[in-house]
């Protein structure tokens, strides 16, 4: 199949057929915010940060799940999109307890970076301040639900790459939360292989390695893509 040509923010860009719009946008050197997307994992289109305007389409579309097509005209950074992105990040900060000053991931957190990127400097919504537990029953990792943004990257990394499916989501609406096995303490999980991929995938300080200082904490979500690529290439 022939390559596709599309217009992104006024620039003509070529893309491989079957490629997502997000890949094409990045290829063109344009950065747009993403959160639930992680290279190497399947797409869910949940966070809505990567929404873009496509001419001729009534609704905004998530770039991470939209396939490129010939002649597509895309706008990735209109004032309207900027404002929506800021509001979405605001809603996230108001949802749980993202107190960066006392977080293990501060300075090394995608949510924090995103807030800077979209220019979210204060939260106008009421903080919901839920009282979520921290589970440190696992010998190597812990999860602080107060920092979770429900991106489900841990769920997918564990299921799709480690092939274990220790994680899943329980509850609905604002009460949704990630769980291990049958909603039991992580340390009692009989499926977890302690591979650490969920911790690599987690964008925030929700899943953290134990016994490592903030400065030493590896935050390397891109390693997920590396693992996937390595398997494909049989490195």
């Amino acid at each position: 199949m022939a390559a596709k040509t599309l217009t992104i923010d006024g620039h003509l860009v070529s893309a491989r057929p079957g490629e997502t719009l997000l890949a094409a946008i990045r290829d063109a050197g344009i950065t747009i915010p993403t959160l639930c997307h992680l290279d190497g994992l399947s797409e869910v289109g949940a966070c809505r940060l990567c929404l873009v305007e496509i001419e001729g389409q009534r609704r905004l579309q998530p770039a991470c799940m939209t396939m490129v097509s010939e002649g597509m005209v895309v706008h990735t950074n209109t004032p309207r999109l900027q404002s929506y992105r800021r509001q979405i990040i605001e809603l996230l900060f108001a949802e749980r307890n993202h107190v960066c000053a006392v977080c293990v991931a501060s300075g090394n957190c995608e949510l924090q970076r995103l807030a800077g990127m979209v220019g979210m400097d204060h939260v106008r919504y009421e903080y919901l301040s839920p009282n979520y537990p921290v589970d440190i029953s696992h010998p190597r990792f812990g999860i602080d639900h107060n920092r979770c943004v429900l991106c489900t990257r841990c769920v997918r990394a564990c299921d799709e790459i480690e092939g274990v499916h220790t994680w899943d989501v329980a509850g609905r609406g604002v009460n949704a939360h990630v769980i291990t096995d049958l909603n039991q303490p992580w340390g009692t999980s009989t499926t977890c292989t302690s591979c650490g991929k969920c911790q690599l995938a987690c964008p925030t300080g929700a899943i953290f390695p134990r016994g490592v200082t903030v400065g030493e904490r590896p935050h390397a979500s891109e390693r997920i893509a590396l693992i996937v690529e390595a398997r494909k290439q049989r490195w």
Binding site: R48, I88, A94, E95, R172, G173, A176
Partner: protein, 535 residues
């Protein structure tokens, strides 16, 4: 089973009927007000009088005026009685035999009955939903025979397309187009799914259809399966509808026994089986992609579309998903022809719509009216206005995805486009009448609470936005809000509408936006006195 046998069953059924019959509504509404007890009492009275052989007591489906139940109808006179108690049993038998009776009669000339146009509900309250013979006696499954033996799938789809039928599940997508897409999409297997997850507060159209005439839906699904090339169907019905599930199960077993479902239907090469999947009480599972996930055994969460289920649905195969009422329209369209169907209704909305009329209205119940009828005719004539004569303030259509339409706009015709133009939607058919004593901020808050509890939690704008909106409306209700909070409410509504993943989040702001539009003063009156110079 062939046509001859089918007709023989119908004729035998007719011949076996007693001349005098008492039809008792045994749908959920009347059961709740004691219909089963009444039916037992009627049988006792008839047994005692030695008349049980001459007079049948037949349990039937919903007769429509559920708010006045239990209802009883006599045949052949057609007289109907309301609020019948077991103590009235003797008098009902007396009425059947032409003797005086003091039980309240329903006025059959009342607009509630006279203004209705039953297509979908044509057998409701006429037949025993638990007996397939009853359905066959009113002509059931003959259309399926006709379709299988005398029409090509393309002809069936063309008929549905020409009829102008649009989906009754809410969005009004052209049904013929959807069928054609599924038929043309490549796939090893195809599926037909009936969406019976009806979750809007106040809505009970689909439940009544399933409880009153389950075979009509099965026959519609089988015709659809033939048209699109599917061999497997699912009915996704919510777990809160035990009676509907029970009757569907019975209906499927009976149809299979008669060779009307299963392998080689009507001795043709067409196979179609239907299985029931019971929902676990999540409103969002009515959304088609979440419904698919749920049938597949995954968490009931929507996914972005495209691809639409018509291309990639159950297990990645082309899947036709239609609402209960959509399927219930199919046999009538084939039987009477698409031109007949498209002559009913308005310009772009053809046929009829079933509504569950509830709230501050004298005649609550299930109604079927031609599209294009005005809201005024429904509320004032059919519904009979409010019970105590208080002026009507607004009607809410479309449930948590819809809006409130003020009384000043009651001349709006009920069709997909007109309702959307006044800020509401047709929705699946819930219609709640509100009188002057209703506070519109409370209404908006009620629906937002519903959406907040029913959000699946997958996407951020809906998961957190519904809670924030609910909290802001609560603050307003408690007179703790500032004037600028109204702007914040509107801004958040816009965000949710434009960025949420599925229809739940996208339409959750509608009740707020429509009440803000038509009843802004009620919001402004609640702005706290100190509000304007708060922190």
């Amino acid at each position: 089973m062939d046509l001859h046998e089918l007709e023989a069953i119908g004729e035998r059924e007719q011949a076996q009927r007693t001349r005098l019959r008492i039809l008792c509504c045994a749908a959920a509404g009347c059961q709740a007000s004691g219909a089963l007890e009444l039916k037992r009492r009627l049988e006792t009275v008839l047994t005692a009088a030695g008349k049980l052989a001459d007079i049948d007591v037949t349990p039937v489906g919903c007769m429509g005026l559920c708010g006045h139940g239990p209802l009883v109808r006599l045949e052949p006179s057609g007289e109907m009685f309301e609020r019948v108690t077991p103590a009235d049993a003797e008098e009902i038998v007396a009425a059947l035999e032409g003797r005086p009776c003091t039980v309240t009669r329903c006025d059959r000339q009342h607009p509630f009955f006279a203004r209705q146009f039953p297509i979908v509900l044509r057998h409701c309250g006429q037949i025993n939903p638990e007996r397939i013979e009853d359905y066959i006696a009113v002509g059931g499954y003959r259309t399926l025979y006709h379709v299988i033996h005398e029409m090509t799938p393309t002809e069936v789809i063309a008929a549905i397309t020409r009829s102008g039928l649009r989906g009754r599940g809410g969005a009004g997508y052209p049904t013929g187009l959807k069928w054609a897409t599924v038929a043309k999409s490549p796939g090893e297997r195809k599926f037909v799914v009936c969406n019976a997850d009806e979750g809007d507060p106040g809505a009970f159209m689909d439940r009544s259809i399933l409880e009153s005439d389950p075979h009509l839906v099965l026959e519609g699904m089988a015709i659809a399966a033939y048209a699109v090339g599917a061999e497997q169907g699912f009915i996704y019905v919510r777990g809160e509808y035990p009676l509907a599930i029970e009757r569907l199960q019975k209906a499927i077993v009976q149809a299979r026994r008669f060779g009307l479902l299963g392998a080689q239907i009507f001795e043709s090469g067409f196979n179609f089986r239907i299985d029931i999947r019971v929902g676990a009480g999540a409103f969002v599972c009515g959304e088609e992609t979440a419904l698919i996930a749920s049938i597949e055994g995954r968490r009931g969460q929507p996914r972005p579309r495209p691809p639409y289920p018509a291309e990639s649905g159950l297990w990645g195969m082309p899947t036709l998903i239609n609402n209960v009422e959509t399927f219930a329209n199919v046999t009538a369209i084939i039987e009477h022809g698409p031109e007949w169907f498209s002559s009913i209704g308005s310009n772009r909305s053809k046929g009829t719509k079933v509504f569950a009329l509830t709230g501050k209205v004298r005649n609550t119940g299930l109604i079927e009216v031609p599209m294009g009828i005005t809201l005024r005719e429904i509320v004032e004539e059919i519904g009979g206005g409010t019970p105590d004569g208080t002026p009507v303030k607004a009607v809410q259509t479309g449930g948590p995805s819809g809006g409130c339409i003020p009384a000043s706009l009651f001349d709006t015709p009920v069709d997909y486009e007109s309702l959307a133009a006044v800020g509401s939607i047709m929705g699946s058919g819930g219609m709640v009448v509100m009188d002057e004593h209703t506070n519109m901020v409370d209404v908006a808050r009620f629906y937002m609470e519903f959406c907040k509890d029913e959000s699946c939690g997958k996407c951020i704008p809906c998961r957190v936005g519904t809670v924030q909106l609910f909290n802001m409306l609560t603050k307003l209700r408690n007179r703790q809000a500032h004037a600028r909070d109204l702007d914040k409410i509107e801004e958040l509504c816009d965000l949710m509408r434009e960025t949420s993943l599925c229809g739940l989040g996208q339409s959750a702001p509608n009740p707020v936006l429509s009440t803000l539009h038509y009843f802004r003063h009620e919001y402004e009156e609640l702005i706290g006195a100190e509000g304007d110079h708060g922190s």
